[in-house]
Symmetry: C2
Subunit: 535 residues, 2 copies
């Protein structure tokens, strides 16, 4: 799914504010060689593993058909484990949900929506982007799912801040925000350097090199022996270079250093400097749900039961009993050798088990992070045709948070853009509204940036507020602490029950975490099986 | 084709060093409204235009079947002009050339090459990327050519400098170069600010805002009341966040501020801040030559004569005579109402005409910029599989200039990367070699960055050194001046002869310039035709 703000992501991995401290601690240990320090790579169970040890294929019941549950069954199936996935919804994927024409959903509060998107149009309501380093890409490769770049940065997209000081309520292209912030900041540092402020820090050669870098980085111009930011073609042109006027006319003048600082137009410039939002990111061609659908296909339809709600989990000496209602509302018990429980922790905490109150208490520890995402379908791709924005994000300080321009279907007839993407307390306003009102609000805010086309060309919308989605109930979670015992407790097996989910990894809110956690459960169950079977 | 270095591009549009001056001049005029200042949009000739005025369709001979010549004929055909395109090579497109398996070329010096790329593999030897603002994208849309993003920036690609001071001959991932340069520069400015160096420049509130920006932009950490760069997860991780260690271990420590400045690892960080290299850029799916091939299809095969070399152009009161040899070596004369001459200026200067010595002298004015591009085909995509580099560029200070990782065919079986892209005097070394030696040299330099896989997995290569390509003879040109008369002279019609080409616009080396120049010639011929036909 991906943290909306850098800050929240950094907090989720414990890095915000602490990266220096973390790093310092590690530095004191010396530099461990890269390869040696990394954990052993995952070894998928292999077809012959069980037969070679004379083990009958164990039966594993998997609670939840999200990416964790599906990856668990997919990997276990490689060695022939008997798997049954119980999924409460009527589709695989959990939060990996691609909304298409005909997709229907009833919110917890009773509001119903039915997407009216045209054929081929979609929105990825949950995860939408994959970093290059993530194991998710390996699954795309293994499953034969083609990928395409997902752009976060676009010079033609913009920033728009209601609270933007002297530049409030103005649409500012990213190219201008970047040029002006880097330009003025570079000029300031050049001035300070020239005035001797860094003479103690830097030798003469380094000062010269710094000035050369600033001239380049800030697009500074030299007047006499002084470097100044007076504008640059990085801001774009008022008149493009053409035949009659080959140099063109640069768009300007730039705002003053005071206006740039007081407006805070640099506040989102570091967004895609942050790991894991660094360029290039990817998405599957055709929708993110190609991943869970491919996994479900490989697992086999007869091994996934949709509409199945877990009522009770009992760990026994000889196995696990899972009581659930099937799609028809009938109660059934599944007896298995192992259970992998991938439900969200706050939902699992409500399922009666015999694992002990400390387990339930641990499941109740993480706090929820609500997330809202709104898809808006337009009859024409005005952002490409009128504004030449081909993908990327616009950052705002309004309820909608961000606008995402689609990174697929370029030059197509229609398109679905993400008209709101927001997380945490800032979703509360949207959460409280009926879906149609959320869409109206998103459109009204988008009009402030893009003008009347944003309302006029609209065909339909679909609002996913994850706190309102049955059987999911929030965007992702946040641990109050990684080290107070609860996280570790749930990462340990409890009898024959294994918890798994991205919430049990350092990659909360990412499919990579779901896969990592699934692989961990798979490895442990497989090792246990082989150890038990050993003569 | 795109300037290789920012500096050279800026020079070509007259912006380097002069943007401030230009802008200052324009600023003195006040802010002209954006729309009003832009030239009138192109109006393509329409089917009824000639019939309505009772004009018979004029005959236009177009010299050169590159993008300028093809766009000229394509637009004129919309109103029914009789067009004949004379192209010396055996394919359309000129420098827009996509090399595929079977592509054969004999260099001016006699060296022969034949590409052995596998089916579906290709290299764009000429233009390879299209900025969002460029008219080229509109042609893709109009011609139904699908597009996909072309990534210039990639956190997993790297910089490698032989002359990199204390960090010489080290492969440094872009994510680390960026984090360390931005981090140290931000710390320096924070220090200077804290020491009062900017008290005259900035009020107290602005100083606080600047520090907040620097903390964010540089990923600085606060120790006491001091902001310092001590490393950041933007550099990547030595141990990725995982289940056992959710925060992970950040890769570090970063090099010192001296090492960062003295190494110059920031020298290429501004590359894609520059207009027109700002993100997002695009390429046609399947190869850049889909553009000229689509244009040629629309024009019709019978209106393009390949292997046709222009021998003489004579402007007459009643039309234009063009003497040429056809593909079979036979001399023929084409008589037309107008001639659009799109040959490169240094080649056109060698064609005898009756336009006068001043025209020939003007054609000889621009200097040539040699360009070299080398495609390397690998049996597997080791850059994705081993190094998780999905597209983007690596910058070096070696002969190869840059390495480009392919932005298409992700996760495919094979792939062609660009193992050298260089321009200007730095191509001389490669130009002088036989193609096989160029490829060997490129591989040897790539090995320094990527290790033995760069040589081991190689299947074949193809080296395009534009100075050695018959009928093209260089990469692009540079005008010594826009204003000394030669540029203007050639942009004026000479009797019934119109010169056209990207070299007659502010977009030298870009297809957008070719199209712009074509449109200008088309507009002028069409206006003249309509004016003449008027009763």
């Amino acid at each position: 799914m991906g943290g909306v703000t850098r800050r929240s992501f950094l907090e989720s991995v414990g890095a915000a504010g602490g990266s220096g401290a973390l790093f310092g601690a590690m530095g004191a240990l010396g530099l461990a060689p890269t390869a040696a320090a990394n954990p052993a790579p995952f070894e998928p169970p292999r077809p012959g593993d069980l037969a070679l040890r004379g083990a009958r294929p164990p039966r594993v019941v998997v609670l939840g058909g999200g990416v964790t549950g599906l990856a668990t069954a997919y990997e276990l199936r490689k060695a022939g484990y008997e798997c049954l996935v119980l999924e409460a919804k009527d589709r695989p994927g959990g939060r990996n949900w691609t909304v298409r024409g005909g997709t229907a959903e009833k919110e917890i509060t009773g509001h119903r929506q039915r997407a009216r998107f045209a054929d081929g149009e979609y929105m990825n309501a949950g995860p939408a982007r994959i970093a290059q380093f993530m194991v998710t890409l390996d699954y795309c490769r293994e499953l034969g799912i083609p990928i395409e770049p997902f752009s976060l940065d676009n010079c033609n997209a913009c920033v728009y801040y209601e609270n933007g000081g002297p530049l409030s309520r103005r649409r500012i292209e990213n190219r201008k925000a970047k040029a002006d912030v880097f330009g003025h900041v570079s000029e300031l540092l050049a001035k300070a350097t020239d005035q001797g402020a860094l003479d103690k820090e830097l030798g003469r050669d380094d000062r010269e090199r710094l000035l050369a870098f600033l001239e380049d980085f800030g697009a500074l111009t030299r007047s006499g022996d002084r470097l100044a930011y007076t504008g640059t073609n990085r801001r774009g042109y008022r008149v493009l270079p053409d035949t009659d006027d080959p140099p063109g006319v640069i768009d300007g003048p730039p705002p003053s250093v005071h206006d740039v600082l007081a407006s805070g137009i640099g506040r989102d410039l570091s967004f895609n400097l942050e790991w894991p939002f660094q360029t290039v990111m990817f998405q599957p061609v055709g929708g993110m749900d190609r991943i869970p659908r491919a996994l479900a296909d490989r697992i086999g339809a007869d091994r996934i039961r949709y509409g199945a709600q877990v009522l009770e989990v009992t760990d026994l000496p000889s196995g696990v009993d899972v009581l659930y209602t099937d799609g028809g509302g009938r109660k059934r018990t599944e007896h298995a050798d192992y259970c992998v429980a991938t439900l969200p922790p706050y939902i699992m905490a409500r399922v009666p088990t015999n694992l002990g109150a400390h387990v339930t208490a641990a499941l109740e520890r993480p706090s929820r992070v609500p997330v809202s995402k709104i898809g808006l379908e337009y009859r024409r791709r005005w952002w490409e045709q009128d504004e030449r924005i081909y993908g990327g994000l616009t950052h705002t300080d309004m309820d909608i948070g961000q606008i995402w321009y689609p990174c697929h279907g370029y030059h197509g007839r229609r398109g679905v853009l993400i008209g709101a993407y927001t997380e945490g307390p800032s979703t509360e306003g949207l959460d409280a509204m009926a879906p149609a009102d959320r869409i109206r609000r998103a459109v009204a805010q988008g009009v402030k940036i893009h003008g009347p086309a944003y309302a006029r060309e609209l065909v339909s919308g679909f609002a996913v507020n994850w706190d309102r989605v049955p059987h999911i109930e929030t965007g992702w979670v946040r641990w109050p602490s990684w080290t107070d015992g609860a996280y570790d407790l749930l990462n340990r097996p409890h009898g024959r029950v294994y918890f798994a989910g991205e919430w049990l990894t350092g990659f909360i809110g990412w499919q990579a975490g779901a896969i990592e956690s699934a692989r961990r459960a798979v490895t442990r169950i497989h090792q246990r099986t082989l150890a038990t079977a050993r003569p």
